[in-house]
């Protein structure tokens, strides 16, 4: 089959709606992007704090097993037996120092070594257990955030992150010493790009809560980093002022130490979104399920130094403020669905706010500009090999 093609509009602020809906493009995206030379965050190591802790996930269909061995080292494996590729671990999380495949009783250590298999004398002559460890993708850690890539070509992680790394470090409490509070998991009826276009981006007009709570956005900047157009927002803390319609004021209170890092968003190509808002630290691990569905695991964190009061505050704020039922973000979730439905119409989505010149790409934006998405779209276009129409 020939590569999927799509003619791209000449203006940088226009995106063909077909990019959100064509299933042939989706298959090509899986190959070129999700299985290609990109880094994908899959977990934070604080999600497996103790020796023997493990987690399993599927990233663009690929089953992964993330484990911490007895010595404390974190590794990422394919969650498939090295014999016939039977799914090795079925639990989403747990604690084990050995993983046994029930099919032929092959036994693996948390380091991924094949430590036992019954009746090897009946195997291919010369069979050696040392040749059959669990397979591994490339992985690397950034302040505890675990990234994987399925390509040998991907550049080192720090180059992939570029300037976004510093904002991401600040977002993860400055040192990445996090403590897991729990998960909110949801599937959205949206193409992964529709999710990504609308999750990090601020649409203040959408959120009635801001108006009703007299909540003005803090001063800040939006910028994009690297050729991939990772989007970062940095803004000072803003706290709702004036009379509130809410009886529980703690939902929107800031009890942290440093107001200068009140609000951060880092959105990495292709699907990762993370945010620190008030005292909520939220990493969103997203994966496409198919061309019309994206699964997002919202993981929430405290800091390891938090006292009991702060821990309680973060728990109460994290549960109700953001996420698929959060006070100030439930409407975002509904937009993911509605954008996806609306994208099944002809023509292009045309970005307006913050676009000063449709023939130019920029990398600095105002906080509520939608144009911050455009460098990422240009990278997507180039990775997919779509030709831009001539001016």
């Amino acid at each position: 089959m020939a590569d999927a093609t799509l003619t791209w509009p000449k203006n940088y602020n226009e995106v063909p709606k077909a990019a959100f809906t064509r299933s042939d493009l989706y298959l090509e995206e899986i190959k070129r992007i999700f299985h290609g030379p990109e880094w994908h965050p899959v977990a934070h190591e604080s999600e497996l704090p103790n020796p023997g802790d493990f987690r399993t996930i599927r990233l663009a269909g690929i089953p992964l097993l993330i484990s911490r061995d007895e010595g404390g080292e974190v590794r990422v494996f394919y969650n498939a037996c090295s014999h016939r590729s039977n799914q090795l671990e079925t639990a989403v999380m747990g604690n084990k120092t050995e993983f046994e495949c029930p099919y032929h009783r092959w036994l693996f250590s948390a380091k991924g070594e094949l430590v036992g298999c019954p009746n090897p004398r009946e195997f291919v002559p010369g069979f050696d257990k040392a040749d059959y460890p669990l397979g591994q993708p490339r992985f690397d850690l950034f302040y505890g955030l675990i990234f994987v890539t399925f390509s040998a070509e991907t550049e080192p992680l720090d180059q992939f992150l570029g300037e976004a790394g510093e904002t991401l470090r600040e977002l993860m409490a400055g040192d990445g010493r996090l403590k897991l509070l729990g998960y909110q998991k949801v599937r959205y009826d949206s193409n992964w790009k529709g999710y990504n276009d609308n999750d990090g981006y601020h649409a203040p007009l959408l959120h009635a809560a801001f108006k009703m709570l007299n909540w003005q956005g803090g001063k800040g900047r939006q910028y994009t980093a690297t050729k991939r157009g990772h989007v970062c927002f940095e803004s000072a803390l803003s706290v709702a002022s004036g009379p509130s319609v809410l009886k529980d004021k703690d939902l929107i209170a800031f009890k942290g130490q440093d107001p200068s890092v009140g609000s951060r968003i880092v959105q990495l190509f292709p699907t990762f979104v993370s945010t620190k808002h008030l005292d909520v630290i939220n990493l969103r691990f997203a994966t496409p399920i198919d061309a019309e569905t994206t699964e997002v695991h919202y993981a929430y964190f405290a800091h390891q130094n938090d006292d009991a009061d702060m821990l309680r505050h973060r728990l109460r704020q994290s549960s109700n403020l953001l996420g698929p039922c959060g006070l100030i973000s439930m409407e975002d979730a509904s937009i993911f669905h509605r954008i996806h439905i609306g994208s099944h119409t002809p023509g292009n989505a045309i970005f307006q706010k913050g676009v000063r010149d449709p023939a130019k790409l920029e990398s600095e934006f105002s906080q509520n500009d939608e144009s911050g998405n455009l460098p990422r779209w240009e990278y997507y276009r180039s990775v997919m090999g779509f030709e831009r129409a001539q001016a």
Binding site: R187, S319, I341
Partner: protein, 165 residues
Amino acid sequence: MMLSPTKLEGALDRLLLADANALDSKDMTGWLTNYAEEEQASYYCRAAENTEHNLELGFMFDDCRARLEDRVIYVTEIWAGTFQDYRTRHFVQRVSHRQVDASTAEAMSNFSVFMTPMDTGVTQILAAGRYLDMVRLSGDGRAKFLSRRAELDTSVLPRYLVYPI
């Protein structure tokens, strides 16, 4: 005073059904009246997966009466007009209960919730799970939730939630 088994079952079932009816009618004020007028009245909606791993975070964490009252405001005022509305039907089945003392009972029920988005008209399952309820009994045989925990088997929701489960 301990209630007779029949009276206790009647009081609990009337409360379970009143809550299902309020939710399916999108009657948030009615939903609130099913909760005891005590400061510690609470509602939690959380994936059982979190609970089983000692992770307290939930989809909804309304640990005091003030938060229950705020949730009514979220749905009826703050979010009004921003979401794709959907109908729900709650099916609730009490599976165990006991009276703890004269004014308190606990009950566990299974639930399944169907949802039908207004725009598609296609009915799906929204969630399945268990309610773990602590119930305040009053002298006249009426019951209100002191605490309701909706523990969802559904660890991955099929959509965002507007209404409590």
